[in-house]
Amino acid sequence: MKTKMYMTFPATLTNTPVTYELIKRFDLKLNILKANIDFNLMGSLLYDIEGPSKSISEAIEYLQNLGLNVDLIPSVITIDENRCTDCGLCTSVCGIKALTIAAPDWKLNFDPAKCVGCNHCIPVCPSRAISGLVPEPVL
């Protein structure tokens, strides 16, 4: 199973090496897409995560017991189809090609598995049709 996992943790756990634990204890393949610690030392991490469903469930339980908020998310961005005009402009900033548009149908195509949650497409969409589940770091 391959999915995305998003977690937020309180300041008290900012120093816990969760990534290390996830790899060592549960033998999961992890790719960190986004890591952030804000001014209050609240942290968040977004992973691409791969492994047997059972290990993933166990890992989630382990993290929750530690006091983290954990969510498996199928997609980091959502596109409001009622707002989207299929203009295609968002595809111009999606370097990973998770967003594509092409002949013959010229409809926007989004591949959530490829999306790395960089959020570049969000401000580019002229119709404000894209929203992100993972907030940007507040600077």
Partner: protein, 392 residues
């Protein structure tokens, strides 16, 4: 052969629309038909070609009339949902421009949003002040109005439907934010406008059938071409096919807000640039003679434009290369030996939808063609601002 058709007139076409025998196809469909049946047979058979586009058109706005308050108040300074509208007309007339930005939300909510909120039947707050006169004693007025409350509300766009448009890229070391989208550094991407072979003025490159009075679809409603557009360039550089390279002619269009649908007109927001309005426009082109068929047979590979480096802060920006729409629509083009991704800013999906709607309207007899009451002056270029000194 003597029974071969050489010409057809607007009147003949309208007669066929009325008796249900008119043959209509879109500017994309006609290309397949020509491939299949040849130009001769297509000219015999087809009366009208429908064209369309849907994209951001900044030079857009609407005239509104609110009716009078009691006591009457002249709207000298006014806002609609905190977006400034023009107060220099008669007492309760105004013009709201699509790119005006709101006092509280900036370009995230602008004139385009006000116009589309009205079309959607939402309540919009009018706030106005006046110095007060004998005939208009009111000095301050506030009203919550809906489209149905207004006497007149019509879109009047001074410049729409650009014939062709330069494609955009960025040769500098940092991102550039434009109405062509975010352009990534070091030729990181390319964006382009127009619906190519489906685009209205590319199918009538010399404006032989489109002129003042032409009946069109605008924002999903029946509207009209009211004048040539501003900065209308009818003396562009043309390729062998007669197709303008880069920008060309433009149209001023008019249409009733009360008949529009936000599926075909919607606000657009460009990061670090501002508000604009996506306008959907559909224009029928009658195949009056074989020349018109030849024009409507234009293909994406025959339509060329200049790829411009938008990072250069001058009116005349360097052309990186010439490129055709088949290349642009392929998804990537070569710049200096490197393949670069291309993305549209015009919605082909919506443009097609509009061309299809127009086709069905004509076929069903609910949309007759209007011959232009005046054709636009040809061979006229565009002037720069005279005696200008940019002070800051």
């Amino acid at each position: 052969m003597s029974d071969k058709r050489e010409k057809r007139t607007f009147d003949e076409i309208n007669e066929k629309i009325r008796n249900g025998t008119v043959v209509v196809c879109t500017a994309e469909e006609i290309l397949e038909m020509i491939d299949r049946d040849g130009e001769e047979a297509v000219f015999e058979a087809v009366d009208v070609v429908t064209t369309a586009t849907f994209g951001p058109m900044c030079s857009s706005g609407a005239f509104l009339n609110f009716g009078h308050s009691d006591p009457p108040t002249r709207l000298e300074k006014l806002t609609l949902n905190k977006v400034e509208a023009y107060g220099g007309l008669a007492a309760v007339d105004t013009y709201i421009g699509a790119t005006a930005e709101s006092e509280d939300q900036g370009y995230e909510y602008g004139g385009a949003h006000v116009i589309c909120d009205l079309i959607d039947g939402k309540e919009v707050v009018l706030e106005a002040t006046s110095k007060g006169t004998d005939c208009y004693p009111g000095k301050k007025v506030k009203a919550a109005v809906k489209l149905e409350d207004l006497n007149e509300a019509y879109l009047f766009n001074p410049r729409n439907a650009y014939q062709n448009y330069a494609a955009a890229t960025n040769g500098s070391g940092k991102a550039v934010y434009t109405y062509m989208g975010t352009l990534l550094p070091n030729y990181g991407n390319v964006t382009y406008a127009t619906s190519g072979a489906l685009s209205p003025l590319l199918n009538d490159p010399e404006l032989r059938t489109i002129g003042m009075g032409t009946r069109i679809l605008v924002g999903g409603a029946v509207g009209y071409v009211s004048w040539n557009g501003t900065q209308c360039n009818t003396a562009p550089t043309r390729n062998a096919n007669g197709t303008p390279i880069g920008t060309g002619a433009t149209l001023a269009v008019i249409g009733d807000l009360k008949q529009m649908d936000t599926k075909y007109i919607s606000p657009a927001v460009f990061k670090a640039y501002g508000t604009s309005l996506n306008v959907g426009i559909g224009i029928p082109i009658p195949l009056l003679d074989r020349e018109m068929l030849r024009f409507c047979a234009v293909r994406n590979e025959d339509i060329e434009t200049n790829l411009i480096d938008y990072s250069v802060p001058h009116l005349s920006r360097p052309t990186v290369r010439k490129v055709n729409y088949a290349e642009l629509q392929s998804g990537q083009i070569e710049i200096n030996g490197k393949m670069v991704k291309t993305s549209p800013t015009t919605s082909m999906r919506k443009a097609r939808e509009i061309a299809d709607i127009l086709k069905e309207k004509i076929k069903s007899g609910s949309f007759e063609l209007q011959a232009p009451v005046k054709l636009f002056t040809q061979n006229q270029g565009v002037k720069k601002m005279a005696n200008a000194e940019v002070l800051e």
